[in-house]
Amino acid sequence: MISDTPKAAIYQSDDFAARLRKRYAAERRFKMYGVVAIGVALGMLAILLTSIVGQGYTAFAQHDLALEVFFDPAEIDPQGSRDPAVISNANYGALARTALQAVFPEVEQRTDRRRLTSMISNGAAFELRQMVIDDPSLIGTRKQVRIPLASDYDQVLKGNIDRTLPETSRKVTDQQIAWVDKLVANGQIVNGFNWRLFANGDSRDPELAGLKAGLVGSLLTLMVTLGLAIPIGISAAVYLEEFAPKNKLTDLIEVNINNLAAVPSIVFGLLGLAVFLNAFNMPRSAPVVGGIVLALMTLPTIIIAGRAALKAVPPSIREAALGVGASPLQVVTHHVLPLAMPGILTGVIIGMAHALGETAPLLMIGMIAFIVDTPGGFGDASTVLPVQIFMWADSPERGFVERTSAAIMVLLAFLIGMNAIAVFLRKQFERRW
């Protein structure tokens, strides 16, 4: 029964105190749920990140062979013509092999020598050739050079291949390990920063495989994606939330957009294949197409997040602006959008994260491909980072295991870099009223 007197008695009663204690217990529990939720989420992230970093950090360093190579004119350019065609067709592998064999004169048997030279990566010949092409005066000189060590030996040195296992259980024989150890003792194996991981494109040889093509590809693709998805997404969100008459058509569009969010990403790939490749004859494996497909996939996220954010702007702000004679478009651009920006940017961040890590639709439009060359434009064949990860994860060679994790780290760094911009912007727009 409501009383005309204050509830002082009630509020100071033991009952109320007990009730209050309960309410505070609920409060603490509620708050704890929050802490636990964040803790669990962060914990999961930490577990994921540690396992990635734990597996991948070794890939950022790599062992090289330091050999004194004689750029034998007889091998490179017997005629002394210095004709680029001749120079580039020479057998540079032989130079490296000779240099290595010089360290182990005692190895004479053919098969043993072959085992020995398997230490030299396939990439050595190409790196030596590049050196000579860049500087033909090297021919005839001796030079201390660093050439890549074949991945299996790199893995032994990094401990990823267990040398205590019986010989038959590993790819590297005891003898080969002994050779490597000798080289290490000689100081002819140097461990250094793995610049090839960033300077090279993809390769079938783990020690040569790099992310440059994937990084550039991702950058190009993402430029297309964001360049389309952000303006279109925000425009659509603004139109639907602020201007569209509420009728069947806009309901249809709204349902449609929500529905598109649930379309499996691979189906967007099918769309890309059918429409952009087959109907519009756009190039396969190209960042433009990949970008468009990912943009279509990201759009619903940005639109839905954007609409939610626009909806949260109090109507009184709109009234105030309309009241001084702002046009609806001005109301939106001057007041509503800035206030909704944090939410829109969240949509962009999440959409971008999704697009940056997505592989399935790219399969359909030819971006899951072995592409070595770094793309030079939006129409060139290219891969993207997640595809690189996907393909490395599915490669048999042991050396790709650490590289897969390293690539994931690079992708995450890329993502964090991109996010940082958006997060910074979001903070600028944030306010409570």
Partner: protein
């Protein structure tokens, strides 16, 4: 628009080899590095056969031979002449973790372990075997748990052909069935959980095997080759899978891999001939060539010669 870069599509099994050739080819500097896509054999052939012109690929990888129907489809789309390059062999292994005993199966036993229906006491019944021991007392008492490729993959197709069909043929009771039933019994793999379809990621299977000691996995030889420290390949009819046994066909579960070439694109898209020459050079697909290092089992020498002359002359494939 023009195109000056070779495009290859097709099998994920052949992909590592073709891409290794492409890389070397590109490194030589005269031509751009070909783009090699992994679309699966069927998808690759579909694209390959869709027509001629820049928007269609020049080559396709296949982990099985092209089918007659597919060739006809090609011709219908104007892809009239296709030549075939047999790359080498791929062994399919059944492997398990090194921490358990080295298994020794017969093909018949594998069939009994994995078929949906088997013969027990002269009757064709749904597969009752829960443990390997149920099949043969000499086998371990562990539960049957085999991770293998999904029905959509070429490896699965080959496995069915090379193991299931062969194993099945050893049962006169099944032979006695009418032809269509016989096929059904031979080809169906059990779905009660003993066989686990594990998707296309073979590294994942490898790691699952390491974690689960009782499980076996079915995948290509190269994954075993790279993980010798963790896994061992079960002997099949007494033969363990390795380079020699597969190449000499002693190991019974091996198949050939192919690359198909669209002849009409040769001389139009620059570098196709040179690429094929590189592929069939001894340093690539020969013994001790760089493809062997990637896990390819090379063809015998005389076969290689034949393949080389045939592909360099662009001899059209016929069925």
């Amino acid at each position: 628009q023009g195109r000056d870069q070779i495009r290859v599509v097709g099998s994920s099994t052949v992909f590592p080899f073709t891409s290794a050739v492409a890389e070397t080819f590109g490194r030589m500097g005269k031509f751009k590095t070909p783009v090699v896509e992994s679309t699966g054999t069927g998808g690759g052939i579909k694209q390959f056969c869709a027509g001629v012109g820049v928007q269609h690929p020049d080559l396709t990888n296949a982990s099985r031979r092209i089918k007659k129907s597919e060739l006809e489809g090609c011709a219908a789309n104007g892809v009239t002449t296709v030549s075939e390059l047999e790359v080498g062999f791929d062994g399919i292994v059944i492997a398990n973790s090194k921490s358990t005993a080295h298994a020794d199966f017969t093909i018949k036993q594998i069939f009994q372990a994995l078929a949906k229906q088997v013969v027990v006491n002269g009757q064709v019944v749904p597969n009752p075997h829960k443990t390997w021991k149920d099949i043969d007392p000499s086998l371990p008492a562990a539960e049957i748990e085999v991770l293998g490729p999904p029905p959509t993959s070429g490896t699965r197709d080959a496995f069915v052909e090379l193991v299931m069909d062969v194993g099945c043929a050893q049962f006169p009771e099944i032979k006695a069935l009418p032809a269509d039933q016989q096929k059904a019994v031979c080809n169906q793999i059990r779905e009660d959980g003993a066989f686990i379809e594990a998707g296309e990621n073979d590294n994942l299977i490898v790691q699952k095997l390491v974690a689960n000691k009782d499980a076996f996995g079915i995948f290509g030889y190269s994954f075993l080759d790279q993980n010798m420290d963790k896994l061992q390949g079960a002997k099949m009819n007494g033969v363990a899978p390795d380079l020699d046994t597969i190449a000499s066909a002693k190991y019974p579960v091996a198949r050939s891999m192919y690359v198909y070439v669209k002849n009409q694109h040769v001389d139009v898209i620059p570098g196709i001939r040179e690429f094929l020459a590189e592929y069939t050079s001894e340093k690539a697909f020969g013994e001790e060539g760089y493809l062997e290092a990637k896990g390819l089992i090379p063809l015998p020498k005389d076969k290689r010669e034949k393949v080389r002359t045939s592909i360099l002359n662009l001899t059209p494939v016929t069925m």
